[in-house]
Amino acid sequence: MLRLEALHKRYATGEVALTGVDLEVIKGQVMALIGPSGAGKSTLIRCVNRLVPPTGGRIFFNNEDVTRLSSRKLLKMRRQMGMIFQEFALVERLSVMENVLSGRLGYVGFWRSFLRKFPQTDIDKAFRLLKRIGLDHMVDKRADELSGGQRQRVGIARALIQDPQLLLVDEPTASLDPKTSRQIMRLICELAHERNLACVINIHDVPLAKMFAQRVVGLRLGEIVYDGTPEGLNDDVLTEIYGEEDWHINKYAPKAAQQESSWDEEDTEEPAATAS
Protein backbone atom coordinates (compact mmCIF):
# COMPACT_ATOMS: atom_id res chain seq x y z
CA MET A 1 0.00 0.00 0.00
CA LEU A 2 2.89 2.34 0.83
CA ARG A 3 6.20 1.55 -0.77
CA LEU A 4 9.38 3.61 -0.65
CA GLU A 5 12.09 2.87 -3.18
CA ALA A 6 15.58 4.24 -2.64
CA LEU A 7 14.13 7.34 -1.03
CA HIS A 8 16.77 10.02 -0.77
CA LYS A 9 16.59 13.46 0.78
CA ARG A 10 19.24 16.10 0.80
CA TYR A 11 18.35 19.49 2.25
CA ALA A 12 19.35 22.76 0.63
CA THR A 13 21.90 23.17 3.42
CA GLY A 14 23.70 20.11 2.07
CA GLU A 15 22.68 17.92 4.94
CA VAL A 16 21.70 14.44 3.83
CA ALA A 17 18.74 13.17 5.85
CA LEU A 18 17.83 9.97 4.00
CA THR A 19 20.22 7.83 2.01
CA GLY A 20 18.21 5.46 -0.11
CA VAL A 21 15.50 4.03 2.11
CA ASP A 22 13.47 1.02 0.92
CA LEU A 23 10.38 0.27 2.92
CA GLU A 24 6.98 -1.26 2.43
CA VAL A 25 4.01 -0.92 4.73
CA ILE A 26 0.91 -3.02 4.20
CA LYS A 27 -2.71 -2.21 4.95
CA GLY A 28 -3.62 -2.39 8.61
CA GLN A 29 -0.05 -2.53 9.83
CA VAL A 30 1.09 -0.38 12.74
CA MET A 31 4.77 0.34 12.25
CA ALA A 32 6.96 2.19 14.69
CA LEU A 33 9.91 4.13 13.35
CA ILE A 34 12.59 4.56 15.97
CA GLY A 35 16.01 6.13 15.91
CA PRO A 36 18.12 8.90 17.43
CA SER A 37 17.39 12.57 16.84
CA GLY A 38 18.53 13.56 13.38
CA ALA A 39 18.21 10.05 12.00
CA GLY A 40 15.68 11.24 9.45
CA LYS A 41 12.46 9.93 10.99
CA SER A 42 10.57 13.19 10.62
CA THR A 43 11.98 13.76 7.16
CA LEU A 44 10.85 10.30 6.12
CA ILE A 45 7.22 10.75 7.01
CA ARG A 46 7.17 14.30 5.66
CA CYS A 47 8.48 13.00 2.35
CA VAL A 48 5.55 10.62 2.12
CA ASN A 49 3.01 13.45 1.91
CA ARG A 50 5.56 15.78 0.34
CA LEU A 51 5.55 18.40 3.04
CA VAL A 52 9.25 17.92 2.37
CA PRO A 53 10.00 17.23 -1.28
CA PRO A 54 12.27 14.19 -1.66
CA THR A 55 15.38 14.60 -3.80
CA GLY A 56 15.61 11.07 -5.05
CA GLY A 57 13.85 7.71 -5.19
CA ARG A 58 10.17 7.02 -5.44
CA ILE A 59 7.18 6.73 -3.17
CA PHE A 60 4.27 4.56 -4.21
CA PHE A 61 0.95 4.97 -2.48
CA ASN A 62 -1.69 2.58 -3.80
CA ASN A 63 0.60 2.07 -6.78
CA GLU A 64 0.68 5.73 -7.69
CA ASP A 65 4.00 7.56 -7.62
CA VAL A 66 3.63 10.39 -5.12
CA THR A 67 6.88 12.04 -6.18
CA ARG A 68 5.56 12.76 -9.68
CA LEU A 69 2.10 14.04 -8.88
CA SER A 70 0.94 17.41 -10.16
CA SER A 71 0.11 19.81 -7.37
CA ARG A 72 -3.62 19.32 -7.87
CA LYS A 73 -3.29 15.56 -7.63
CA LEU A 74 -0.99 15.93 -4.66
CA LEU A 75 -3.75 17.69 -2.70
CA LYS A 76 -6.09 14.81 -3.53
CA MET A 77 -3.43 12.37 -2.39
CA ARG A 78 -2.85 14.18 0.88
CA ARG A 79 -6.50 13.67 1.81
CA GLN A 80 -5.74 9.95 1.96
CA MET A 81 -2.93 10.48 4.44
CA GLY A 82 -3.82 11.70 7.90
CA MET A 83 -1.02 13.27 9.85
CA ILE A 84 -0.65 13.58 13.60
CA PHE A 85 2.02 15.91 14.91
CA GLN A 86 4.48 16.38 17.69
CA GLU A 87 3.28 19.21 19.95
CA PHE A 88 -0.15 18.67 18.36
CA ALA A 89 0.09 21.49 15.78
CA LEU A 90 -3.50 22.55 16.28
CA VAL A 91 -4.26 26.02 15.00
CA GLU A 92 -4.43 27.57 18.42
CA ARG A 93 -6.78 30.44 17.70
CA LEU A 94 -9.37 28.24 16.05
CA SER A 95 -12.00 26.34 18.01
CA VAL A 96 -11.92 22.60 18.58
CA MET A 97 -14.62 22.14 15.94
CA GLU A 98 -12.80 24.28 13.37
CA ASN A 99 -9.63 22.31 13.99
CA VAL A 100 -11.41 19.02 13.50
CA LEU A 101 -13.25 20.26 10.42
CA SER A 102 -10.00 21.53 8.93
CA GLY A 103 -9.35 17.86 8.23
CA ARG A 104 -12.10 18.11 5.59
CA LEU A 105 -10.47 21.03 3.75
CA GLY A 106 -9.30 18.75 0.98
CA TYR A 107 -12.92 17.81 0.27
CA VAL A 108 -14.70 21.17 0.32
CA GLY A 109 -14.27 24.28 -1.79
CA PHE A 110 -12.69 27.49 -0.59
CA TRP A 111 -15.86 29.50 -0.05
CA ARG A 112 -17.55 26.77 1.93
CA SER A 113 -14.54 26.49 4.20
CA PHE A 114 -14.11 30.26 4.38
CA LEU A 115 -17.72 30.74 5.51
CA ARG A 116 -17.44 27.68 7.79
CA LYS A 117 -20.41 26.12 6.02
CA PHE A 118 -19.30 22.50 5.92
CA PRO A 119 -21.70 19.82 4.63
CA GLN A 120 -23.89 18.27 7.31
CA THR A 121 -22.27 14.86 6.75
CA ASP A 122 -18.90 16.37 7.72
CA ILE A 123 -20.38 17.94 10.82
CA ASP A 124 -21.99 14.62 11.80
CA LYS A 125 -18.66 12.92 11.32
CA ALA A 126 -16.93 15.54 13.44
CA PHE A 127 -19.40 15.11 16.28
CA ARG A 128 -19.06 11.34 16.13
CA LEU A 129 -15.29 11.58 16.34
CA LEU A 130 -15.39 14.17 19.11
CA LYS A 131 -17.68 11.91 21.07
CA ARG A 132 -15.35 9.00 20.50
CA ILE A 133 -12.37 10.92 21.86
CA GLY A 134 -14.47 12.28 24.71
CA LEU A 135 -14.40 15.95 23.81
CA ASP A 136 -17.87 16.56 22.42
CA HIS A 137 -18.60 18.95 25.29
CA MET A 138 -15.72 21.21 24.23
CA VAL A 139 -16.72 21.90 20.64
CA ASP A 140 -16.48 25.69 20.87
CA LYS A 141 -13.45 25.92 23.15
CA ARG A 142 -10.41 27.45 21.59
CA ALA A 143 -7.65 24.93 20.98
CA ASP A 144 -5.18 26.74 23.23
CA GLU A 145 -7.50 26.26 26.20
CA LEU A 146 -7.08 22.48 26.14
CA SER A 147 -4.59 20.34 28.01
CA GLY A 148 -1.85 18.46 26.17
CA GLY A 149 -3.71 15.17 26.07
CA GLN A 150 -6.91 16.82 24.92
CA ARG A 151 -5.08 18.69 22.19
CA GLN A 152 -3.55 15.52 20.85
CA ARG A 153 -7.01 13.92 20.81
CA VAL A 154 -8.23 16.79 18.67
CA GLY A 155 -5.18 16.26 16.46
CA ILE A 156 -6.18 12.62 16.08
CA ALA A 157 -9.75 13.57 15.20
CA ARG A 158 -8.47 16.04 12.60
CA ALA A 159 -6.43 13.31 10.96
CA LEU A 160 -9.21 10.73 11.04
CA ILE A 161 -11.98 12.94 9.69
CA GLN A 162 -9.98 12.96 6.45
CA ASP A 163 -11.04 9.30 6.00
CA PRO A 164 -7.41 8.43 5.39
CA GLN A 165 -5.97 5.08 4.42
CA LEU A 166 -2.65 5.85 6.02
CA LEU A 167 -1.73 7.60 9.24
CA LEU A 168 1.58 9.43 9.48
CA VAL A 169 2.29 10.05 13.12
CA ASP A 170 5.22 12.22 14.18
CA GLU A 171 6.27 11.84 17.83
CA PRO A 172 2.71 11.84 19.16
CA THR A 173 3.77 11.58 22.78
CA ALA A 174 6.84 13.81 22.89
CA SER A 175 5.28 16.40 25.17
CA LEU A 176 2.91 14.22 27.17
CA ASP A 177 3.24 12.55 30.55
CA PRO A 178 3.68 8.76 30.68
CA LYS A 179 0.06 8.00 31.44
CA THR A 180 -1.37 10.29 28.78
CA SER A 181 1.23 8.98 26.31
CA ARG A 182 -0.11 5.46 26.77
CA GLN A 183 -3.71 6.59 26.41
CA ILE A 184 -2.91 8.50 23.23
CA MET A 185 -0.96 5.60 21.73
CA ARG A 186 -3.77 3.22 22.64
CA LEU A 187 -6.32 5.52 21.01
CA ILE A 188 -4.30 5.84 17.82
CA CYS A 189 -3.78 2.09 17.57
CA GLU A 190 -7.40 1.28 18.34
CA LEU A 191 -8.70 3.68 15.73
CA ALA A 192 -6.16 2.48 13.19
CA HIS A 193 -7.20 -1.10 13.88
CA GLU A 194 -10.94 -0.37 13.61
CA ARG A 195 -10.50 1.30 10.26
CA ASN A 196 -7.80 -1.03 9.06
CA LEU A 197 -5.36 1.81 8.45
CA ALA A 198 -1.67 1.54 7.83
CA CYS A 199 0.16 3.55 10.40
CA VAL A 200 3.73 4.88 10.52
CA ILE A 201 4.59 6.19 13.97
CA ASN A 202 7.80 8.05 14.72
CA ILE A 203 8.58 7.56 18.33
CA HIS A 204 11.43 8.23 20.72
CA ASP A 205 10.17 6.04 23.46
CA VAL A 206 11.36 2.50 22.81
CA PRO A 207 9.20 0.79 25.49
CA LEU A 208 6.11 2.49 24.01
CA ALA A 209 7.09 1.37 20.54
CA LYS A 210 7.49 -2.19 21.76
CA MET A 211 4.15 -2.05 23.50
CA PHE A 212 2.01 -0.82 20.63
CA ALA A 213 3.64 -1.59 17.30
CA GLN A 214 3.40 -4.79 15.29
CA ARG A 215 6.61 -3.95 13.52
CA VAL A 216 9.59 -1.80 14.41
CA VAL A 217 11.94 -0.13 11.97
CA GLY A 218 15.16 1.41 13.25
CA LEU A 219 16.66 4.34 11.39
CA ARG A 220 20.19 5.56 11.84
CA LEU A 221 21.78 8.36 9.82
CA GLY A 222 19.13 8.07 7.14
CA GLU A 223 19.46 4.31 6.76
CA ILE A 224 17.34 1.41 7.93
CA VAL A 225 19.39 -0.68 10.35
CA TYR A 226 16.63 -2.78 11.85
CA ASP A 227 13.34 -4.06 10.52
CA GLY A 228 11.55 -6.66 12.53
CA THR A 229 9.31 -7.54 15.42
CA PRO A 230 9.20 -5.52 18.64
CA GLU A 231 10.45 -8.59 20.51
CA GLY A 232 13.63 -8.58 18.45
CA LEU A 233 14.70 -5.25 19.90
CA ASN A 234 17.50 -6.43 22.17
CA ASP A 235 20.48 -4.48 23.47
CA ASP A 236 22.60 -5.26 20.43
CA VAL A 237 19.93 -3.92 18.13
CA LEU A 238 19.48 -0.79 20.24
CA THR A 239 23.23 -0.24 20.08
CA GLU A 240 23.10 -0.67 16.33
CA ILE A 241 20.36 1.98 16.10
CA TYR A 242 21.37 4.49 18.71
CA GLY A 243 25.11 3.90 19.09
CA GLU A 244 27.21 2.59 21.94
CA GLU A 245 25.58 2.88 25.34
CA ASP A 246 25.24 0.76 28.48
CA TRP A 247 21.51 0.23 28.22
CA HIS A 248 20.95 -0.82 31.82
CA ILE A 249 23.85 0.26 33.94
CA ASN A 250 23.58 3.29 36.16
CA LYS A 251 25.95 3.02 39.06
CA TYR A 252 24.09 5.61 41.12
CA ALA A 253 20.67 4.04 40.71
CA PRO A 254 19.15 1.73 43.31
CA LYS A 255 19.66 -1.89 42.35
CA ALA A 256 16.05 -2.59 41.44
CA ALA A 257 16.14 -0.06 38.62
CA GLN A 258 18.98 -1.84 36.90
CA GLN A 259 17.11 -5.01 36.19
CA GLU A 260 13.94 -3.60 34.74
CA SER A 261 12.92 0.01 34.24
CA SER A 262 9.77 0.38 36.27
CA TRP A 263 7.47 3.29 36.97
CA ASP A 264 6.98 2.83 40.69
CA GLU A 265 9.91 4.03 42.71
CA GLU A 266 11.19 1.61 45.27
CA ASP A 267 13.47 2.63 48.06
CA THR A 268 15.92 -0.15 48.65
CA GLU A 269 18.22 -0.54 51.57
CA GLU A 270 20.88 -1.93 49.31
CA PRO A 271 23.91 0.32 48.94
CA ALA A 272 24.79 1.63 45.50
CA ALA A 273 26.33 -0.97 43.29
CA THR A 274 30.01 -0.74 42.67
CA ALA A 275 30.16 -1.36 38.99
CA SER A 276 33.85 -0.93 38.54
Binding site: N49, L51, R78, A89, V91, S102, S113, F114, P271, A272
Partner: protein, 284 residues
Protein backbone atom coordinates in the same frame (compact mmCIF):
# COMPACT_ATOMS: atom_id res chain seq x y z
CA UNK B 1 22.18 8.05 54.65
CA UNK B 2 25.38 6.07 54.43
CA UNK B 3 25.24 6.41 50.70
CA UNK B 4 25.01 10.19 50.82
CA UNK B 5 28.00 10.38 53.17
CA UNK B 6 30.06 8.26 50.88
CA UNK B 7 29.12 10.41 47.87
CA UNK B 8 30.20 13.55 49.69
CA UNK B 9 33.54 12.04 50.54
CA UNK B 10 34.02 11.01 46.97
CA UNK B 11 33.24 14.53 45.75
CA UNK B 12 35.75 16.07 48.15
CA UNK B 13 38.47 13.82 46.85
CA UNK B 14 37.60 14.91 43.31
CA UNK B 15 37.79 18.64 44.05
CA UNK B 16 41.10 18.27 45.88
CA UNK B 17 42.61 16.60 42.88
CA UNK B 18 41.60 19.35 40.46
CA UNK B 19 42.84 22.11 42.78
CA UNK B 20 46.25 20.54 42.98
CA UNK B 21 46.74 20.04 39.31
CA UNK B 22 45.73 23.47 37.92
CA UNK B 23 46.81 27.08 38.34
CA UNK B 24 43.85 29.55 38.34
CA UNK B 25 42.75 30.46 34.83
CA UNK B 26 41.84 34.09 34.22
CA UNK B 27 38.83 35.14 32.20
CA UNK B 28 37.77 38.37 30.51
CA UNK B 29 34.65 39.15 28.52
CA UNK B 30 35.27 38.96 24.81
CA UNK B 31 34.99 42.35 23.06
CA UNK B 32 32.69 42.87 20.13
CA UNK B 33 35.59 44.36 18.15
CA UNK B 34 38.63 42.34 19.03
CA UNK B 35 41.42 44.56 17.74
CA UNK B 36 42.14 47.14 20.43
CA UNK B 37 43.47 49.89 18.11
CA UNK B 38 40.45 49.60 15.82
CA UNK B 39 38.13 49.72 18.82
CA UNK B 40 39.68 52.85 20.31
CA UNK B 41 39.98 54.71 17.02
CA UNK B 42 36.28 54.08 16.25
CA UNK B 43 35.34 55.53 19.64
CA UNK B 44 37.60 58.55 19.13
CA UNK B 45 36.17 59.12 15.63
CA UNK B 46 32.57 59.10 16.90
CA UNK B 47 33.39 61.60 19.66
CA UNK B 48 35.23 63.90 17.25
CA UNK B 49 32.35 63.85 14.76
CA UNK B 50 29.84 64.63 17.49
CA UNK B 51 31.98 67.58 18.65
CA UNK B 52 32.31 68.93 15.10
CA UNK B 53 28.62 68.65 14.36
CA UNK B 54 27.74 70.66 17.46
CA UNK B 55 30.18 73.34 16.29
CA UNK B 56 28.45 73.71 12.92
CA UNK B 57 25.18 74.68 14.62
CA UNK B 58 26.45 78.25 15.29
CA UNK B 59 23.95 79.19 17.95
CA UNK B 60 23.82 82.97 18.35
CA UNK B 61 22.95 83.31 22.04
CA UNK B 62 22.45 87.11 21.79
CA UNK B 63 19.78 86.71 19.15
CA UNK B 64 18.12 83.96 21.19
CA UNK B 65 17.99 86.36 24.13
CA UNK B 66 16.57 89.21 22.05
CA UNK B 67 13.99 86.91 20.48
CA UNK B 68 12.58 85.71 23.81
CA UNK B 69 10.04 88.53 24.32
CA UNK B 70 8.79 88.06 20.76
CA UNK B 71 8.29 84.37 21.43
CA UNK B 72 6.42 85.26 24.57
CA UNK B 73 4.06 87.52 22.62
CA UNK B 74 3.55 84.76 20.06
CA UNK B 75 2.64 82.23 22.73
CA UNK B 76 0.37 84.76 24.41
CA UNK B 77 -1.50 85.01 21.11
CA UNK B 78 -2.65 81.39 21.61
CA UNK B 79 -4.31 82.03 24.95
CA UNK B 80 -7.38 81.94 25.28
CA UNK B 81 -8.11 79.51 22.44
CA UNK B 82 -11.01 80.67 20.32
CA UNK B 83 -13.37 77.84 19.39
CA UNK B 84 -16.25 80.03 18.37
CA UNK B 85 -15.37 82.34 15.49
CA UNK B 86 -14.04 79.55 13.24
CA UNK B 87 -16.12 76.67 14.64
CA UNK B 88 -17.70 75.73 11.32
CA UNK B 89 -14.35 75.55 9.56
CA UNK B 90 -12.96 73.46 12.41
CA UNK B 91 -15.85 70.98 12.21
CA UNK B 92 -15.53 70.76 8.43
CA UNK B 93 -11.79 70.22 8.71
CA UNK B 94 -12.13 67.52 11.35
CA UNK B 95 -14.82 65.69 9.38
CA UNK B 96 -12.70 65.86 6.25
CA UNK B 97 -9.69 64.55 8.16
CA UNK B 98 -11.72 61.71 9.62
CA UNK B 99 -13.05 60.83 6.19
CA UNK B 100 -9.50 60.83 4.83
CA UNK B 101 -8.29 58.72 7.74
CA UNK B 102 -11.00 56.07 7.52
CA UNK B 103 -10.83 55.79 3.75
CA UNK B 104 -7.05 55.71 3.52
CA UNK B 105 -6.69 53.22 6.38
CA UNK B 106 -9.21 50.83 4.85
CA UNK B 107 -7.86 51.13 1.32
CA UNK B 108 -4.26 50.97 2.52
CA UNK B 109 -4.86 47.80 4.55
CA UNK B 110 -6.82 46.26 1.71
CA UNK B 111 -3.86 46.70 -0.62
CA UNK B 112 -1.35 45.76 2.09
CA UNK B 113 -2.67 42.25 2.68
CA UNK B 114 -1.75 40.77 -0.71
CA UNK B 115 1.54 42.67 -0.63
CA UNK B 116 2.32 41.28 2.82
CA UNK B 117 1.49 37.73 1.72
CA UNK B 118 3.75 38.18 -1.27
CA UNK B 119 6.57 39.59 0.80
CA UNK B 120 6.58 36.80 3.40
CA UNK B 121 9.48 34.48 2.78
CA UNK B 122 7.70 31.41 4.10
CA UNK B 123 4.77 31.78 1.70
CA UNK B 124 5.79 33.49 -1.50
CA UNK B 125 7.77 32.38 -4.49
CA UNK B 126 11.12 34.26 -4.71
CA UNK B 127 10.10 36.33 -7.75
CA UNK B 128 6.91 37.54 -6.06
CA UNK B 129 8.88 38.04 -2.88
CA UNK B 130 11.30 40.55 -4.38
CA UNK B 131 8.52 42.39 -6.21
CA UNK B 132 6.47 42.83 -3.04
CA UNK B 133 9.53 43.73 -0.96
CA UNK B 134 10.19 46.39 -3.59
CA UNK B 135 6.71 47.88 -3.16
CA UNK B 136 7.23 48.03 0.59
CA UNK B 137 10.67 49.57 0.25
CA UNK B 138 9.43 52.29 -2.11
CA UNK B 139 6.49 53.09 0.09
CA UNK B 140 8.69 53.32 3.15
CA UNK B 141 11.46 55.36 1.63
CA UNK B 142 9.39 58.58 1.38
CA UNK B 143 8.02 60.47 4.30
CA UNK B 144 4.35 61.43 4.22
CA UNK B 145 5.18 65.08 3.64
CA UNK B 146 7.23 64.36 0.53
CA UNK B 147 4.50 62.07 -0.77
CA UNK B 148 1.88 64.72 -0.02
CA UNK B 149 3.81 67.43 -1.87
CA UNK B 150 4.11 65.11 -4.83
CA UNK B 151 0.46 64.03 -4.85
CA UNK B 152 -0.80 67.58 -4.35
CA UNK B 153 1.09 68.57 -7.49
CA UNK B 154 -0.27 65.47 -9.19
CA UNK B 155 -3.97 65.61 -8.22
CA UNK B 156 -4.29 69.26 -7.21
CA UNK B 157 -5.15 70.72 -3.80
CA UNK B 158 -7.70 68.97 -1.64
CA UNK B 159 -8.43 65.90 0.41
CA UNK B 160 -8.05 63.46 -2.46
CA UNK B 161 -4.30 64.10 -2.56
CA UNK B 162 -4.22 63.55 1.20
CA UNK B 163 -6.18 60.33 0.88
CA UNK B 164 -3.80 58.96 -1.75
CA UNK B 165 -0.78 59.97 0.33
CA UNK B 166 -2.01 58.25 3.47
CA UNK B 167 -3.11 55.12 1.62
CA UNK B 168 0.28 54.83 0.03
CA UNK B 169 2.12 55.36 3.31
CA UNK B 170 -0.14 52.81 5.02
CA UNK B 171 0.99 50.11 2.60
CA UNK B 172 4.63 50.42 3.60
CA UNK B 173 3.89 50.39 7.28
CA UNK B 174 1.17 47.77 7.42
CA UNK B 175 2.58 45.36 4.86
CA UNK B 176 6.01 45.39 6.43
CA UNK B 177 4.84 44.66 9.96
CA UNK B 178 2.26 42.13 8.82
CA UNK B 179 4.93 40.38 6.76
CA UNK B 180 7.10 40.04 9.82
CA UNK B 181 4.20 38.52 11.72
CA UNK B 182 3.46 36.10 8.90
CA UNK B 183 7.09 35.02 8.87
CA UNK B 184 6.89 34.41 12.62
CA UNK B 185 3.89 32.10 12.41
CA UNK B 186 4.29 28.58 13.70
CA UNK B 187 5.47 26.23 10.98
CA UNK B 188 3.81 23.20 12.53
CA UNK B 189 0.37 24.80 12.53
CA UNK B 190 0.59 25.74 8.89
CA UNK B 191 2.11 22.35 7.99
CA UNK B 192 -0.79 20.63 9.69
CA UNK B 193 -3.26 22.45 7.45
CA UNK B 194 -1.19 21.65 4.35
CA UNK B 195 -1.17 17.99 5.33
CA UNK B 196 -4.97 17.81 5.14
CA UNK B 197 -4.88 18.47 1.39
CA UNK B 198 -6.09 22.06 1.73
CA UNK B 199 -5.51 24.29 -1.29
CA UNK B 200 -3.51 27.50 -1.13
CA UNK B 201 -6.40 29.80 -0.19
CA UNK B 202 -7.67 27.41 2.43
CA UNK B 203 -4.18 27.09 3.82
CA UNK B 204 -3.92 30.89 4.19
CA UNK B 205 -7.40 31.08 5.68
CA UNK B 206 -6.97 28.24 8.21
CA UNK B 207 -3.25 27.99 8.79
CA UNK B 208 -1.98 31.56 8.61
CA UNK B 209 -4.85 33.99 9.14
CA UNK B 210 -5.85 32.85 12.65
CA UNK B 211 -2.26 33.24 13.76
CA UNK B 212 -1.84 36.81 12.51
CA UNK B 213 -5.36 38.14 13.15
CA UNK B 214 -4.75 39.77 16.55
CA UNK B 215 -1.69 41.54 15.26
CA UNK B 216 -3.57 42.66 12.15
CA UNK B 217 -6.35 44.24 14.17
CA UNK B 218 -3.86 45.88 16.51
CA UNK B 219 -1.81 47.25 13.64
CA UNK B 220 -4.92 48.46 11.82
CA UNK B 221 -6.02 50.49 14.83
CA UNK B 222 -2.53 51.80 15.36
CA UNK B 223 -2.33 52.86 11.74
CA UNK B 224 -5.71 54.59 12.05
CA UNK B 225 -4.17 56.56 14.88
CA UNK B 226 -1.13 57.50 12.85
CA UNK B 227 -3.18 58.37 9.79
CA UNK B 228 -5.29 60.82 11.72
CA UNK B 229 -2.20 62.59 13.02
CA UNK B 230 -0.61 62.55 9.59
CA UNK B 231 -3.79 63.92 8.02
CA UNK B 232 -3.13 67.14 9.97
CA UNK B 233 0.37 67.42 8.53
CA UNK B 234 -0.67 66.47 5.03
CA UNK B 235 -3.20 69.30 5.14
CA UNK B 236 -0.47 71.85 5.78
CA UNK B 237 1.09 71.16 2.38
CA UNK B 238 -2.27 71.27 0.60
CA UNK B 239 -3.76 67.84 1.20
CA UNK B 240 -6.99 69.07 2.79
CA UNK B 241 -8.49 68.21 6.16
CA UNK B 242 -7.90 69.78 9.54
CA UNK B 243 -4.31 70.57 8.55
CA UNK B 244 -5.56 72.94 5.85
CA UNK B 245 -7.76 74.70 8.42
CA UNK B 246 -4.79 74.99 10.76
CA UNK B 247 -2.61 76.37 8.02
CA UNK B 248 -5.22 79.00 7.11
CA UNK B 249 -5.48 80.05 10.74
CA UNK B 250 -1.72 80.57 10.94
CA UNK B 251 -1.63 82.45 7.65
CA UNK B 252 -4.24 84.89 8.96
CA UNK B 253 -2.40 85.31 12.28
CA UNK B 254 -5.47 83.93 14.07
CA UNK B 255 -3.41 82.22 16.71
CA UNK B 256 -6.34 81.80 19.10
CA UNK B 257 -8.25 79.80 16.48
CA UNK B 258 -5.08 77.84 15.72
CA UNK B 259 -4.84 76.98 19.41
CA UNK B 260 -8.41 75.74 19.34
CA UNK B 261 -7.62 73.54 16.34
CA UNK B 262 -4.55 72.10 18.04
CA UNK B 263 -6.59 71.26 21.13
CA UNK B 264 -9.22 69.54 19.01
CA UNK B 265 -6.51 67.48 17.26
CA UNK B 266 -4.96 66.50 20.60
CA UNK B 267 -8.36 65.54 22.01
CA UNK B 268 -9.19 63.34 19.04
CA UNK B 269 -5.77 61.66 19.07
CA UNK B 270 -6.19 60.94 22.78
CA UNK B 271 -9.64 59.52 22.21
CA UNK B 272 -8.57 57.30 19.32
CA UNK B 273 -5.52 56.07 21.20
CA UNK B 274 -7.55 55.27 24.30
CA UNK B 275 -10.27 53.36 22.47
CA UNK B 276 -7.84 51.51 20.23
CA UNK B 277 -5.92 50.49 23.34
CA UNK B 278 -9.07 48.96 24.81
CA UNK B 279 -9.93 47.13 21.61
CA UNK B 280 -6.39 45.80 21.21
CA UNK B 281 -6.44 44.44 24.74
CA UNK B 282 -9.71 42.65 23.99
CA UNK B 283 -8.27 41.04 20.89
CA UNK B 284 -5.08 39.65 22.41
Amino acid sequence: MKKILRNQQQRQVDTNMTNLSLAPRTWKRKSFIENQTVRYSICAGVILYLFLSFNTLEINWIRVWEGLPRGQKFLAGFAPPDFISRWEEIVDGVLESLWMTVASTVVGIFISIPVALGAARNIAHPSVYYFCRGIIAISRSFHEILLAIFFVKFFGFGPFAGFVTLSFATIGFFAKLLTEDIEDTSVSQSEAIQATGANWWQWINYGIQPQVMPRMIGLGLYRFDINFRESAIVGVVGGGGIGATLNTAFDRYEFDSAAAILIVIIAIVFFVEYTSGIVRKQVQ
